[in-house]
């Protein structure tokens, strides 16, 4: 078994070889998100935005909110089942989480301040949210493919 004995600062050639080995092993760990993950997230977040508009009949709003909640639970459950089947849980870095969620949160806050008399604003914000999440998903997938 490898021990720490004799492990000192490597030469540039040894360091380059170690980096290459680490890159190869890292690529072996790459596990993409399922193709439906970002579209499902986009639909759910857009639906949450649309539900903020006050044009819904309360009963319709309640049913829609329940449908969104059920969709969210189903998506989370499907994701966990996939992770267990593959034996790998993909990682989203904190930077990626912030980059994805912060603009959506800012849109939601802006909507809360600007929606007075403009319920259509939520449809615009929902569309922007969906496009943002889908665009980020495409960027994330392309970056993950490039890293492999």
């Amino acid at each position: 078994m490898e021990t720490n004995e004799g492990i000192g600062r490597p030469t540039p050639e040894e360091a380059a070889a170690a980096l290459a080995a680490a890159d190869e092993a890292g690529a072996a760990g790459d596990t993409p998100f399922p193709g439906w993950a970002f579209p499902a997230t986009a639909v759910l977040l857009a639906a949450v935005m649309l539900l903020q508009a006050d044009w819904w009949h309360p009963a319709v709003g309640a049913v829609a909110a329940l449908a969104v909640l059920a969709g969210l639970l189903f998506a989370v459950s499907a994701g966990e089942r996939r992770d267990r089947r593959l034996g790998v849980k993909p990682r989203v870095s904190p930077a990626d989480q912030v980059a994805l969620a912060l603009p959506v949160a800012l849109l939601w806050v802006a909507g809360q301040f600007l929606d007075e008399g403009r319920p259509w604003l939520w449809a615009v914000l929902a569309a922007i949210t969906a496009v943002w999440v889908l665009g980020y998903g495409a960027f994330w997938t392309r970056r993950a493919r490039r890293a492999r």
Partner: protein, 101 residues
């Protein structure tokens, strides 16, 4: 020429051992991975992986969670926060040695 270095520059002798470096590299890309998947993707035996994981756990770099699935116990491995930081510092130290840093 090899010279011994302390952890100050990010170089970490515990991580640098070839198999441990590969384990950390794989775990750095995931949130969590099952023991058997790590073994298969790195092409190492269960005993070798187990020994290296023990060393990394003793260093506080890797943690394991046990979960039962299909009546069998599965072991999931992940890097700890300090393990991820140590691995990335180590990679930065290697890049600096190569001259990329």
């Amino acid at each position: 020429m090899k010279t011994e270095e302390g952890p100050a520059d990010g170089f970490d002798a515990t991580i640098h051992a070839p198999n441990r470096l590969r384990i950390c590299a794989l775990l750095d890309r995931v949130q969590e991975a099952e023991f058997a998947v790590v073994q298969e993707r790195l092409g190492v035996s269960a005993s070798v992986l187990s020994k290296h994981v023990s060393v990394l756990m003793d260093a506080g770099y890797v943690k394991q969670n046990k979960a039962v699935r299909d009546t069998r116990q599965r072991v999931w491995l992940s890097l700890t926060r300090s393990g991820r930081a140590a691995y990335r510092d180590h990679i930065a130290a290697l890049r600096a040695i190569v001259g990329e840093g």
